[in-house]
Symmetry: C2
Amino acid sequence: MKPLILITNDDTVHAKGLTVLVDAVREFGDIVVMSSDVNGSGMSHAITSAVPLRTRTVHEEEGLWIYSCNGTPVDCFDLGAGYFCPRRPNLVLSGINNGSNASVNVVYSGTMGAVIEASMKGFDAIGFSLLNYDLEADFSLCVPIVKNIVADVLENGLPQGTSLNVNIPDMPYEQIKGIRVCRQSQAFWADSHEKRIDPIGRPYWWLTGEFICDDRQPGSDIHALDNGYVSVVPTHFDYTDYNNIKDMQKRFNQ
Amino acid sequence: MKPLILITNDDTVHAKGLTVLVDAVREFGDIVVMSSDVNGSGMSHAITSAVPLRTRTVHEEEGLWIYSCNGTPVDCFDLGAGYFCPRRPNLVLSGINNGSNASVNVVYSGTMGAVIEASMKGFDAIGFSLLNYDLEADFSLCVPIVKNIVADVLENGLPQGTSLNVNIPDMPYEQIKGIRVCRQSQAFWADSHEKRIDPIGRPYWWLTGEFICDDRQPGSDIHALDNGYVSVVPTHFDYTDYNNIKDMQKRFNQ
């Protein structure tokens, strides 16, 4: 039986990056897409509990089934894997995201939220992002990179609990120098909100921010991307800071 | 000048656990609360970008300022620290959450989303959760534990980038055996959604799930809690799976 690939994203079912991803991997197997009708950028690992989820059939043909729902990217994975796949998926993909999920952006990312959820539930999963925020970005440069990594993971799998966060620099494919497996650069977003005044004189705040990254050493994802490489960060969901356990035990154990 | 403590949570500004936390730490300094009007349980590290944020003054007196907004827990921290604190907070607290954020629940937790955001931006931050999901739970047993840990962190600080995920077992305070600094247990939530049929015959899905945890070894947070200890997991935001970087480099670097 053909491999089954479940695909989601955080830019809605209408996103160009999703279409390019689906087209790129159709040759590898049957495809189920579960995406959202609402933008899930910045939704991280959020799950919907206050309201029920509804689904919609967007497209059905042999080997390609596309559905959407009103959930977050994590909800999309859960519903897709739980109810809309004809068999257990061999691989879960998310993207191609419109913008970077490198460095600490992974923490906020809906694209990677879905990937990490899949990984928590025992699936091999990969998130793809292109470093271009233009809705009309040319995602086609990602296609050979996607095919390359997907073929490897379908054949060889991933370690239990490890997923891949793949970021692709925005440059012509021929200029990309290669692929580098990296660690996540440390960074943060400064000045998170801009204060404005509405037409009746009341304040409101809108999300903004400046990406501050001093961690551009070799081995980091930002260094790889700055130098024209695709970055691949093996990602897990153990938030324990093992380096500080012993010191904290001395202070707090009682 | 007195220490300033910024407090948020994910159970809304009306939550009992928030009130208990505020009362528990007032003796340590001035308090600013920024919480949400809408429940942020399960919002993880989500940030609001599609709509502007509005704020509301709930209560103001010397040494205690309480505000609310329409944002996620992470938004609450960002707005609170950025616009509503009279000076830089010495400590950021979140909770007391109505239910467990131990093990992989940290990944979904709005309570811990705010804590991790604060930590990413260089603040000492602690999340508190009580293992009781009843809205009328007796949070008072948490008070001496909160005071103990807050006093230590105000005096000694935390390592850069490390926050604390504190979970408290639901039992009379006298029966709690102590505090254990732990690692996060590995686990997952199975059967994520329940399918139902609405009154006009159409399907909908509602979040549910069963917590599956086979990782109850000594040293894990679930083991500590099972045995009547408060668990404290030092938590960071580097998702890199360092154990698998070398193997992945052999496979993917090119």
